[in-house]
């Protein structure tokens, strides 16, 4: 198991390289010149050219990508354009704020994490019971209510929902503030609802369909034939099995959650990774954009690793596979040493 986790951690590296290459290429070909944006309006072409040289922007694409990975030493005296590269987790300073980009991200990330965790918690607490009730009472009134609500939830884009919520609860009813910040729990209510809605809907539908499939399984019949109470049949025999696919979906949704956070943070002017990204893109702040994307990709990959581990805890068949892999590896290495 430990070996498996290490292997998976190593596998994150090529994924990250791929992601960074794509993002790097996109920022490279995107219009706009960071040098021009940094310099005052009246800067001459020569000033700009020199600035590009200092920033390393006059180098060919591949060389710039190598700088991005392995570091860049600026030819200017100003060391603020130098950095040690992604492998040293240093992508330099923001062109706009002149602060190390990862520092800003690490400062702001807890805010995004807080928002996302609340949203995840809310969606799990709502969706799983709703899905279970829906499945165990198929075609009943509660089932129909859950089905309709999750369809509604699915069809509402986060930014639109956020604005509607602001209009109702901030502008009209004046119950919740329209600007959110992490130090005011009350101000988090609307963004959390905004962010959680889509996930709740997806998870509720997933739980329902997974549960419907599981309660038709033969081993559920075996449990009933033992004389087990229906409630316990569901809790002990159906639930864990039904949650296996739901866990996957939740893992994938963390990606969704981060995307949703970008939109939600923008709507509620919340100081998280999302607003960093949007600001950085608007100002062509390349180091900040790259750092944000890399960071989000790392978080996403780690979360999915956690999901796979959770999986193995629920399902002994998957655990056996991992142990099988480990055993084969050990056998191979033993074979070689002989």
């Amino acid at each position: 198991m430990v070996k498996y986790i290490l292997r998976r951690l190593l596998m994150i590296i090529p994924v990250l390289l791929g992601v960074t290459f794509i993002v790097f290429s996109l920022t490279y070909i995107a219009p706009g010149d960071p040098a021009r944006m940094i310099l005052p309006q009246d800067a001459t072409e020569a000033d700009i050219a020199q600035m590009r040289h200092f920033m390393g922007l006059d180098e060919p694409f591949i060389k710039q990508y190598f700088h991005f990975l392995f570091g860049f030493k600026s030819p200017s005296d100003d060391s603020s354009f130098s950095y040690k590269g992604l492998l040293a987790l240093d992508l330099g300073r923001s062109y706009v704020s002149n602060r190390p980009v990862f520092r800003t991200i690490l400062e702001r990330f807890p805010n995004t994490a807080l928002l996302s965790l609340f949203a995840l918690l809310l969606s799990v607490l709502l969706s799983i019971p709703a899905g279970i009730i829906s499945a165990t009472h198929q075609y009943s009134v509660p089932d129909m209510i859950v089905s309709i609500l999750s369809l509604l939830g699915l069809s509402m884009p986060a930014f639109w929902l956020g604005m509607i919520l602001i209009w109702i609860f901030s502008v009209q009813l004046k119950i919740f503030p329209s600007l959110a910040n992490p130090n005011n729990l009350k101000s988090l209510v609307l963004p959390v609802i905004t962010l959680a809605t889509m996930n709740t809907a997806v998870q509720a539908r997933m739980t329902r369909s997974s549960m419907l499939e599981i309660i038709r399984q033969d081993y559920i019949r075996t449990a009933r034939a033992k004389g087990l109470e229906e409630k316990k049949v569901i809790r002990r025999h159906a639930l864990n099995n039904a949650l296996i696919p739901v866990v996957t979906v939740i893992g994938l949704q963390v990606g969704q959650l981060l995307v949703g956070a970008v939109l939600t943070e923008t709507v509620f002017s919340y100081p998280g990774i999302g607003t960093i990204m949007v600001d950085a893109i608007q100002r062509k702040d390349t180091p900040q954009i790259l750092a944000s994307v890399v960071f989000v990709a790392i978080v996403f990959a780690l979360v999915n690793l956690v999901v796979d581990i959770v999986y193995a805890f629920i399902d002994p068949r998957i655990r056996a596979q991992y142990e099988g892999i480990a055993k084969i590896k050990i056998n191979n290495s033993l074979g070689k040493s002989k």
């Binding site: 399984q217 033969d218 081993y219 019949r221 075996t222 449990a223 009933r224 034939a225 033992k226 004389g227 087990l228 109470e229 002990r236 025999h237 864990n240 099995n241 629920i314 399902d315 002994p316 068949r317 056996a320």
Partner: protein, 331 residues
């Protein structure tokens, strides 16, 4: 005189779906003495499993309904019991083994815990004691108790079926219903599992209803046999009587389709035709379309149960309505 454990009277069970009514079991009666064994035999779709579910109270809640009749078990009518009362009986006094062992165990619970669970449901309050008894049960079905903490995927099909037998017998039930317990298994394993069921039945003094589409399987285990066709028991009698002289044309057809080593291959005659649509109630005899002895009367008059010494049969030939040409052909 041996006492009666189970007495099914005129049981009628239907599945009521959106657009039609499936007449799965149509007024069957069956008696099982304490310690006795009945083989319930018929083609797929005959209503065997539905009969078992009716006894167990495991019919699908929304669609399956017992329309008529009674199921007396130790004198109590199971059809009148509440869900709670039924739960107390299920798994402790009446147990059931299902057809497909590959899917009948929960994949994410150890086999030991799955056996212990039924003990805990029915009164073994002490967890350690339940675990110990679960280990005993595993050994009883020939699996070392050291494998208690393993998961179903670590066992072969035959071993899974043994685990399921251990679950079914853990509370020492009065009645065991085994629904095609060996159909999904390899032929070699089939014989082992059947032998084990037979031995444990005798050892624990459990009564048995063995369901199979294969008369040959039932012949190895049961004293009595009930032949089921389209939701009816068309023939009932002691196994050797039925084997030596079938009274119903359908039984004869089933016997002819059992492969037997001593008989040459050409004698293997499958029964022609198919089971009728269970949503249509026919006039006359339900077996008529497939019956080689049928006469015109058979499509008009439905046969009733005729008693012939201690055997029962549903056929107009035995009511004297049409001549019995079957016996003649045999002799």
């Amino acid at each position: 005189m041996e006492s009666l454990l189970l007495s099914i009277n005129n049981l009628t069970t239907q599945y009521i779906t959106d657009n039609n009514i499936i007449h799965a079991v149509n007024g069957i009666s069956l008696e099982l003495a304490r310690g006795g064994s009945i083989g319930l035999v018929g083609e797929s779709g005959a209503g065997k499993t539905t009969t078992a579910y009716s006894i167990m109270g495991l019919l699908p809640k929304l669609t399956g309904k017992i329309i008529k009749g009674s199921i007396l078990f130790e004198g109590k009518d199971l059809t009148l019991l509440s869900e709670e009362e039924m739960r107390d009986i299920r798994g402790s006094k009446i147990s059931m083994i299902f057809q497909d062992p590959m899917t009948s165990l929960n994949p994410i619970i150890t086999v030991g815990d799955q056996i212990a669970e039924v003990l805990e449901i029915h009164g073994t309050s002490n967890k350690n004691e339940a675990q110990k008894k679960a280990g005993d049960m595993l050994e009883m079905v020939g699996i070392p108790r050291g494998r208690m903490n393993e998961y179903p995927h670590q066992f072969s099909g035959g071993m899974k079926q043994r685990v399921i037998i251990a679950i079914a017998l853990a509370c020492n039930p009065e009645l065991l219903i085994a629904d095609e317990p060996t159909t999904a298994l390899d032929v070699t394993i089939q014989a082992q599992v059947l032998k084990m069921i037979k031995e444990l039945k005798n050892e624990l003094d459990t009564s048995l209803i063995l369901i199979s589409h294969n008369l040959g399987v039932v012949a190895q285990v049961c004293e009595n046999v009930a032949i089921m066709y389209a939701g009816r028991i068309v023939e009932f009698g002691a196994l050797r009587d039925v084997f030596s002289k079938p009274l119903h044309p359908y039984t004869e057809g089933l016997l002819n389709s059992i492969p037997r080593i001593e008989v040459e291959k050409e004698r293997l005659i499958p029964i022609r035709g198919m089971m009728p649509d269970p949503s249509i109630v026919p006039s006359g005899c339900i077996f008529k379309p497939r019956c080689p002895y049928a006469k015109e009367e058979c499509s008009v008059q439905a046969p009733i149960v005729s008693k012939i010494s201690d055997r029962r049969v549903m056929c107009l030939m035995h009511e004297g309505v049409i001549p019995n040409t079957m016996g003649a052909a045999n002799e």
